[in-house]
Symmetry: C2
Subunit: 117 residues, 2 copies
DNA sequence: CATAATGGTTACTTTTTAGATACTACAGTA
DNA sequence: TACTGTAGTATCTAAAAAGTAACCATTATG
C-alpha cells in the first residue's frame, strides 16, 4: 500500500499547489512573460482583486512565483515564474492537451490549439 | 489571444474532470483493478458515502468511469476505468512525480516512490 | 483642494461545499 | 420475527470559499 499512500500525498500536494481556482491560469500567463498585478487582473477578466492577491500569495508561498516590488508611486509590483514555477508548465500543457482531446471526442467541438505561437 | 482562451477552456476542463477532492484518488485506485463501491470506500478511508457516490457519478458522467450494476441481493456495483479514464493516468503519474520532487526540494522530506510495484 | 492611479487590506455577506444522520429495498440467516 | 449487508438517497447543518464594498498610502495632475 505504500504506492497508495505516497500517491495520495504527492498528487494531493500537486493539486493543492496548482489546483486553485485561478492558479493554473496565472501560471500560464506568467509563462509567457513577467506581468504586473493590474496586467494579470486584466487578463483574468473576471477575477476579483481579493482572489488574485490571495492566489498570488499562495503561489509565492509555494515558491512558484516571484514577487518584485518597486519603490515607486504609484507602486509597481511585478510577478514572474521561478524555476519551480516553470517546472509545472509541462503539466499544464499536458492537461491542456488532454482537455482539448476530451472536448473533441466527447462533445464534438471544433479542434482547439494548445499554446498557439 | 487564442492561446490564452483555449488554454482557459482546456486546462479548466481537465481540472473540472480530475480536480475534485477524491477524483484523482478514485482513478488511481481503479487503475489497479475494478472495485466495488464498498472496496473503494475502504481504500479512501475518510471519504463519506455521499461524497464517494457524488464523485463517482461525476466521473461516470464525464466518461472516465464505468458503472456496472449486478441484479443481486444485496446489490453489487462494480466500478472500472474506461479507455478515457485510463488516458488520464499518465497525467496523474506526472503530478505524482512533480509533487514528490516538490516535497523533496522544498521541504527536505524523505524521498517517496510513485506507484511502487 | 479634489481626483486619479496602483496594489493592496479588512470586514461583512452570500454561496458553495462537505459532513452527519436517518432512511430505503430486498433476500438470506438465526 | 428481527437482524445483516449493499449501495445508495434525502434532509439538515456546519464549515469553507468566494463575492462585495469600503478603506489605505502616496504622489502627480488639474
Amino acid at each position: 500500500m505504500s504506492d497508495i499512500s505516497s500517491y495520495r500525498c504527492t498528487v494531493a500536494v500537486t493539486l493543492e499547489v496548482i489546483g486553485g481556482k485561478w492558479k493554473s491560469l496565472i501560471l500560464w500567463h506568467l509563462s509567457f512573460k513577467t506581468l504586473r498585478f493590474s496586467q494579470l487582473q486584466r487578463r483574468l477578466s473576471t477575477v476579483t482583486q481579493k482572489m488574485l492577491t490571495q492566489q498570488l500569495r499562495e503561489l509565492e508561498a509555494n515558491g512558484l512565483v516571484h514577487r518584485e516590488v518597486y519603490a515607486e508611486v504609484p507602486p509597481r509590483v511585478e510577478y514572474s515564474l521561478t524555476e519551480l514555477g516553470r517546472s509545472v508548465v509541462p503539466i499544464l500543457e499536458m492537461m491542456c492537451q488532454w482537455g482539448k482531446d476530451y472536448l473533441e471526442t466527447s462533445e464534438g467541438q471544433a479542434p482547439q490549439e494548445c499554446r498557439v505561437g
